[in-house]
Amino acid sequence: MISLLLIIPLSSAFLIPIIGKRIKWTGGAISSLAAFALAANSFVIISNLMKYKTLLYKFGAFPPPAGISLIVDGLSVFLLITVNVVAFLIALFSMDYMKQYTDRWKFYTLFMFMLAGVNGVLIAGDIFNLYVFLEVAAIAGYFLVGFGVRDEELEAAFKYAVMGSVASIFILLGIGLLYSYTSTLNMAEMARILPQTGTSSLVTFVSVLFLMGFGLKAALVPFHSWLPYAHSQAPAPISAMLSGVSIKVLGIYALARIFFNVLGMTPAVCFILIALAVLSMVAGSIMAFGQSDIKRLFAYSSISQIGYIALGLGIGTPLAISGALFHLFNHSIFKSLLFLNSGSIEYAAGTRDLNRIRNVIREDPVTGYTNLIGSLSICGVPPLGGFWSKLIIILACIQANHPILAFVAAVVSMLTLAYYFKALTPALFGTHATAGIKASGRKISFAMAAPMVILAILVVISGMMLLPNPGRELLKGAANVLQNGRNYGK
């Protein structure tokens, strides 16, 4: 069952090149079906996880420290659900959206490789396998960003590839040093050995390498420069995938897993994480003000929201961690929704320029209203999910005696409201059409509208995660894994 998480996306990725080129519709159908199977499989895994605390899959039946293992615990399953549901909706959206591109089978193949990599990162119990799957997802991402092969898209893909490779090299160097120090690659075994060896400057050095590497994958501020290019130039489903899934799993999840469960959180790491988080929140939201490209606006807002998640993890109290994970879930949903919206606006209007997009809500009510819901949630308007997660993070800051951080988080939330208000109000409600949304004459189809509506419904009801069952149990299980520290895999 755990192995199905890898078998399904890989087999569909290998199947699509065989039949997808001749029979055009199969690529989209296979990838949507596979993503749906993955989402269903994640729900089956949850019901099994209620009975056993951790699920373990042994490759070739060799027991863990020597053999390679796949581990699913509360944190993994929380992210598996988020990732696979979002990926299924994105796959559904891309069935019609990708019709404007040629060679679609290549897109679906790479998409399934990316999904396989992301799922693999989430279930790897072995630090080197984590790296391998991270590379699978990242390399598929480099190609997908440049899928349109126009000049600016290739430039963005090249930037992303160079920055991503630098990050991967840092991570690989860190893993190599850690392996030479502990003589094991299994994360649970590593967590057992590291406290016995006492403190060492090597572990500090490895921490710095991992902070740089995973920070770059997560696009925390000093390492963020690839993100606005990659997210704005990729095809819309891939922007949604990168922002909703990739930076969270490859960046935040890997960072949290390694620092909380393997290396152990030291005050210095917490301080650095908080500093990077505050920098991301403030800088991301300030830079978002000047953007006139709708996807660049969303990209900078991603940087700012990733800051919130890192802030919650850096503070490290139980409440803050739950808040961070809840915000991760929320951001994954509403940011994919917003990027899908930007895709359908671009599809219908033929432009991403916010100065030319007008009156979306009248011309295309589905896109308009779902975009409104997503934007309100990301700004933190009360009944929607984004409000609750930001509230929890701010409360956790106050509870942990960091009133200044709470103030910063509240101010950034207002800044978010301000730049979304400034950018999207004219686009959604403005009537002075200079270009108008119907410029290209294309209307979005049902297969494009349905995922956006489902995501919007999820955004509205995601506040219910805080109700006792099953949402809070899921969140609590995920947060417990991080609080338990080095008891990983037990």
């Binding site: 192995s3 078998i7 890989l10 087999s11 290998f14 199947l15 699509i16 090149p17 065989i18 080129k21």
Partner: protein, 138 residues
């Protein structure tokens, strides 16, 4: 090989030598795959050599001849099928063992050879052909 008199590609000497050595290179690649798969990187090295034999044709005779020998779609399909067989072996470990020809000891290095050889040749095609603006290569 009837293309030996054509103007495309390199000189007559290179074409003749290619024609003579081609089979041996291919055979050597298969030999390395089958003989060395128990050692480190058997299938990989064999695949590289198999890919080199096709690269050799391409360098000596030009791209048309090489692509006539090994079509791009065949490359794509064979890589896909080989990868699927890999996955199948991983999922259902024991079902191949009953028949000795399809035992995992034979099938895994062969699949690896197809994947590596096909992949490297595809990369070479992409580097040589697509850089010249040839859209119909694939």
């Amino acid at each position: 090989m009837k293309y030996i008199r054509e103007d495309k590609g390199m000189t007559l000497i290179v074409k003749s030598v290619t024609r003579l050595t081609l089979g041996f290179i291919l055979l050597y690649g298969i030999y390395i795959t089958l003989n060395g798969h128990a050692g480190p990187g058997g299938g990989f090295a064999g695949g590289v050599i198999v890919a080199l034999s096709f690269v050799h044709i391409m360098l000596a005779f030009g791209k048309e001849v090489a692509l006539k020998r090994l079509r791009a779609w065949l490359l794509r399909v064979s890589i896909g099928i080989a990868a699927l067989i890999f996955l199948y072996v991983a999922v259902i470990r024991s079902s191949f063992v009953s028949c000795p020809v399809f035992s995992t000891e034979v099938i895994i290095p062969l699949c690896e050879m197809v994947i590596v050889g096909g992949g490297l040749f595809a990369i070479f095609i992409a580097l040589v052909l697509l850089s010249k603006g040839d859209k119909d290569a694939e």
